[in-house]
């Protein structure tokens, strides 16, 4: 009974964080994009720097009608936002937030993370196929092509870290960085591959082919409005945070850092990577889908394999 109660408290805490994170990032992304493009961003809606902009957005989305389009496959269409959000919540379980603070110290944490976060594609595909809209269908098909290009480099780039740490438990991987130093230094190639592949996983510019506004209106969520659309946005921002947090865990020393408590460092570093992601999004133009596939298969894949072999060689001769 106590375990159940603790689990319920944990999930409520995570859901509150997911909401807060989306609130901060919806505002933060507009603010950062504004400054990067020499605009100002939200300034008018309440408080300093338009901090209430997200609250106004929530009110708008709450009061906006969300109807099921007539041609839609009802079950697929209605379940797609749920399938997008559920894995985004689930991955928080294994993130090592502090030295002793992790919601569930799974012994296959890394595999759990990468397998659960792949479910996001299922939500995208359900939305795209269920909408009965040509833009949505094209967006969903592109999302599939994208997954086939980035998923293998993403997995292979983490294997070098697993070799150095000798564990799949994320908490142990962070602990191993106590005497090795941050894994970004021996695994710089792995980190670059990981970062590029994770931008592709998040469907963000320069790899936002699944929702490319200027080509496909909004891609797979063209037909969604109101709170159902908001679910996709919440899932996207939640994934942006969790994938950055995974990058911090694997390469940037997780909760290691001087003076401040561990969880503060973890959150600070994660939001730093989130900031870099936003920075890239508002700086680079979009690539074409065949360019993305070429990048994934003909560059990132061999590079990550060579990184794997190089790590093995280094550990052997050391």
């Amino acid at each position: 009974m106590n375990i159940l109660l603790a689990a319920i408290l944990k999930v409520i805490g995570v859901l509150m964080f997911v909401g807060l994170n989306a609130y901060i990032l919806i505002w933060g992304e507009r603010k950062v994009s504004g400054h990067i493009q020499r605009r100002i961003g939200p300034i008018r809606v309440g408080g300093p720097s338009g901090i209430m902009q997200s609250a106004a957005d929530i009110l708008k989305l709450m009061s906006k009608e969300d109807f099921v389009p007539s041609g839609a496959d009802w079950w697929l269409w209605v379940l797609a936002p749920v399938v997008s959000v559920a894995p985004a919540v689930l991955v928080y379980l294994v993130l090592p937030i502090g030295r002793t603070l992790v919601l569930r110290n799974l012994n296959v944490g890394l595999v759990f993370f990468s397998s659960v976060s792949s479910f996001t594609l299922l939500g995208i595909f359900m939305a795209g196929w269920g909408s009965n809209n040509k833009y949505s269908l094209l967006g969903a098909m592109r999302a599939g092509a994208q997954l086939f290009s980035y998923e293998i480099p993403l997995i292979l780039s983490t294997i070098g870290v697993v070799m150095l740490a000798g564990s799949l438990t994320l908490q142990r991987i962070v602990a191993a960085q106590t005497h090795y130093g941050w894994f970004i230094f021996p695994q710089i190639v792995g980190f670059i591959v990981f970062f590029v592949a994770s931008v592709a996983e998040l469907n963000r510019t320069p790899f936002d082919l699944a929702e490319a506004e200027s080509e496909l209106v909004a891609g797979y969520f063209t037909e969604y409005s109101g709170m159902r659309w908001a679910m996709f946005a919440i899932a996207e921002y939640s994934n942006l945070f969790t994938l950055s947090a995974l990058g911090v865990t694997l390469f940037l020393g997780g909760w290691h850092g001087p003076l401040l408590p561990g969880w503060v460092w973890f959150v600070l570093k994660s939001y730093f990577l989130v900031f870099v992601g936003i920075w890239i999004r508002w700086t680079l133009p979009r690539v074409r889908i065949d360019q993305l596939m070429d990048l994934g298969w003909k560059f990132l894949f061999p590079v990550s394999v060579l990184n794997l072999l190089g790590t093995g060689l280094y550990l052997m001769v050391r």
Partner: protein
């Protein structure tokens, strides 16, 4: 079962959150259904035909190759976890054989022009 109870609770919580919020949003405002509103969006044109057509997936061979390489990547995990505890010369030699076989397949696919958009 008790060991994985929190994962189950997280799955339920992750499902309950969107369902609850969408239901809440739906109960806060009125709904005015209208055939023109419910038509699928095609940049303002009258929609024609069905989107669920026989669609040429230009990358289906990619998908097959992806499946092969994804399974190969799963084979690498147990090796990577145990690498520091194995006799490293032998372990490294074995993985070189494994990866080189993988790369031969990859190179063959590339030369056969499979890794290009069709």
């Amino acid at each position: 079962m008790g060991k994985y109870l929190d994962i189950l609770v997280f799955v339920i919580g992750g499902i309950a959150f969107p369902v609850g919020v969408v239901t809440l949003g739906g109960s806060l405002r009125r709904s005015y259904p209208d055939p023109a509103k419910e038509a699928s969006y095609e940049s303002g044109e009258t929609p024609f035909g069905d989107a669920r057509i026989r669609f040429h997936i230009g990358y289906y061979i990619f998908a097959l190759i992806y499946l092969v390489f994804d399974v190969e990547a799963v084979f690498l995990y147990p090796w990577a976890v145990q690498y520091l505890h194995l006799s490293r010369g032998i372990a490294f030699g074995e993985i070189v054989v494994f990866v080189v076989m993988l790369l031969i397949g990859w190179f063959y696919a590339w030369r056969k022009k499979v890794l290009s958009w069709m």
